[in-house]
Symmetry: C2
Subunit: 186 residues, 2 copies
Amino acid sequence: MRFDDFVVLARIILGFLAISPMSGYDLIRAFRTSAAHFWSADKAQIYRTLARLVADGHARTEVVPGTGAPDRVVHHLEASGRDLLIEWLASDQKPQAERDAFTAQIFFAESLTTGELRGILDARRAAAVDARDALRAVERSLPNADPTTQRGAWLRRKTLEQGIRAHEAHIEWLDDIRTGLGDAAT
Amino acid sequence: MRFDDFVVLARIILGFLAISPMSGYDLIRAFRTSAAHFWSADKAQIYRTLARLVADGHARTEVVPGTGAPDRVVHHLEASGRDLLIEWLASDQKPQAERDAFTAQIFFAESLTTGELRGILDARRAAAVDARDALRAVERSLPNADPTTQRGAWLRRKTLEQGIRAHEAHIEWLDDIRTGLGDAAT
DNA sequence: ATCCGCATGTAAGTGGTTACATGATTCG
DNA sequence: CGAATCATGTAACCACTTACATGCGGAT
């Protein structure tokens, strides 16, 4: 909830609108699919932020009558919105505070039995493997992109790679701990 | 701000109190020093959570008159608090949503010039190197610990290692992008 | 003399999450 | 025939951050 999160969310929405005009529902899907590996957003939050972007003149709405479906409120990026986006893209991010509940568990895990500790390590490993494989599947579904001629697609692919690498480093670390614990029963 | 964050914060505080009784101020320092690589907490938040833990009977307070300094309100862990801690330590964490503003920047960086892109990559690399070195310094300041006889200390050390590895994987990834961009001027 | 650290809190503002609310279409 | 998806929002609750508030002691 830090204040900046609100700004980042607005900028990400502007980023999506820069790629293509979208309805609130389109954005909800975009967050669930394309952006899940680096940001999450609730739908209430997305609608609220969209409304503010329109109120501030950074986007404008166009109502597209639904053909046998509800009407869609499509949002278009305005010039001031694009300016805001570019300014943010080129800006330095102040370092984000870490928030990792699992690491916290390990930090205080002294009070656990070896069996319990192995339990949470194994569960975490399985989750990390799943998450890595899910990102790999997305990566494979995307066409290869050339860094000079298709920079946008290439960069988006790179962000998936970052997620995959992070998960792999995490898995190796988990295995290290597992090894360090040894074979003792307790 | 997700609801769980509040629970995690309470458990981390219980974890610290399990190691040793502490005042609110002690906890503020503990978060700044020992826990910065996996959790952050504001002091208002810490005092509020401490008050609730006491109200719920999971901790009790002891006022220690200050010797030439303000009184300290030292918090001691109660049995029910220890139960809560252990239960949480052994529980599976539901996967946390990613929130990384820098990755978001890269994802939408298509609109930037190569120069601007290099700028944010370099800034980020410098920040990551600093963060890694800071963790390494902390790691070096800690005595080595044996996984079987000093499990608590060993695990706490491992969490630092996790942070260091994550930063290193991140730096490699940044360098990869830098290389992929090539030498072109624009 | 001033700033920083110790030490404890409270109040106000802001935003995130959850649940509520509605209604049509499509798929099994 | 029920469940899921499309599609849009609102209201209530809750917690995090920022700023406010106070006061002593030691260092520069």
